[in-house]
Amino acid sequence: MLAIAPALPLHEAGKYVAGAYVVLFAIVLIYVAIMAVRLSRIERELGELLSSSKRSSADAQPAPPERDLGRAESTLA
């Protein structure tokens, strides 16, 4: 479609039109970048919560006997 389309008559106005469309693109890009930062923050917080949850559940449960651990290892293998 692009190959058969007629050439755009840019002339003097081309830079203004390009500038306007670049503005919209830049706004969306900046917004996406902000969202990416937020997402990474949420991911980090979620990781922290998960690790603290694991720690608290490990503290709450007594350590299993050694032979059970060995059986579990053999089962996993």
Binding site: G19, M35, S53, S56
Partner: protein, 256 residues
């Protein structure tokens, strides 16, 4: 909750925006007087329409908040106004670029449409500082809703006043004076749809992100052994406050 349908909406937005760009540059004919410069209008006018409608929608959501006291409406109103402000910045910049190309000036103070839009923009630019200045979440939401309603009512009044003014320099795209050819009208409508979809998608992203952060904070409080009611901290923020219980799907909970 807010993330439902986000993928479909995003795909639809990308598809319609691509279609709009194709129509703008390869389908719509060149305007006789302005030539290629007129292509800016397929971006500038939809941005203006969507941002003004967003401001009004923010006011309607604020009415719903005051009626129901549901913090979710306050959140939606906040996000609608926040996103409309971003789109208004785009409107002002693209309008200035067009004015420079067409009139030779970045800004014309004697033109009522430009100045009235700037007044609306500056009015809404005070919305976030207003929220930021109030510590108490309940008062913050209530005052912000009152502001959103009053400012939302000002938007159509301002629009009508400008339309009724006699001096016209700014071209009319909508209304009896537009006389858009069918190809241009179709391209313009698709452009409005594309920008509206972009607005809706970004609002949904914003709501989803805020809701997810709210859920995380509720989970953190729960894990820390605090009750959801006493765990609310007084923080300085321009964004609406959360009253999120552990079960965020419960009616009346959530918000952000």
């Amino acid at each position: 909750m807010y993330g439902r349908g986000l993928r479909t909406l995003s795909i639809a937005t990308v598809a319609v925006m691509t279609l709009a760009l194709g129509l703008i540059f390869f389908y719509a004919p060149l305007e006789a007087e302005q030539g290629f410069l007129q292509k800016i209008f397929y971006l500038h006018v939809p941005l203006a329409i969507v941002s003004l409608c967003g401001f009004v929608a923010g006011g309607l959501m604020a009415i719903a908040h005051l009626r129901t006291r549901d913090p979710r409406w306050d959140m939606r109103s906040y996000v609608a106004i926040h996103m409309s402000l971003i789109f208004a910045v785009g409107t002002l910049i693209t309008g200035s670029i067009w004015a420079r190309g067409s009139w030779g000036h970045w800004w014309v103070w004697s033109e009522p449409t430009l100045v009235s839009f700037l007044i609306v923009f500056l009015l809404y630019a005070t919305y976030q500082p207003l929220r930021f200045a109030i510590e108490d979440p309940e008062r913050q939401a209530r005052y912000a809703s009152v502001f959103a309603i009053v400012a939302g009512a000002f938007v159509p009044l301002n629009f009508i006043a400008v339309r009724l003014s006699s001096e016209y320099l700014h071209p009319r795209v909508l209304g009896s004076t537009s006389n858009l050819p069918a190809k241009m009208a179709l391209t313009f409508l698709v452009s409005v749809l594309a920008v509206a979809l972009l607005y809706g998608t970004l609002c949904k992203y914003e709501l989803t992100a805020k809701h997810t952060r709210a859920q995380l904070r509720a989970l953190r409080r729960q894990l820390a052994g605090e009750s959801a009611g006493t765990g609310r901290t007084m923080r300085r923020s321009a964004s609406p406050r959360l009253a999120l219980s552990a079960d965020s799907s419960a009616p009346g909970s959530a918000g952000v």
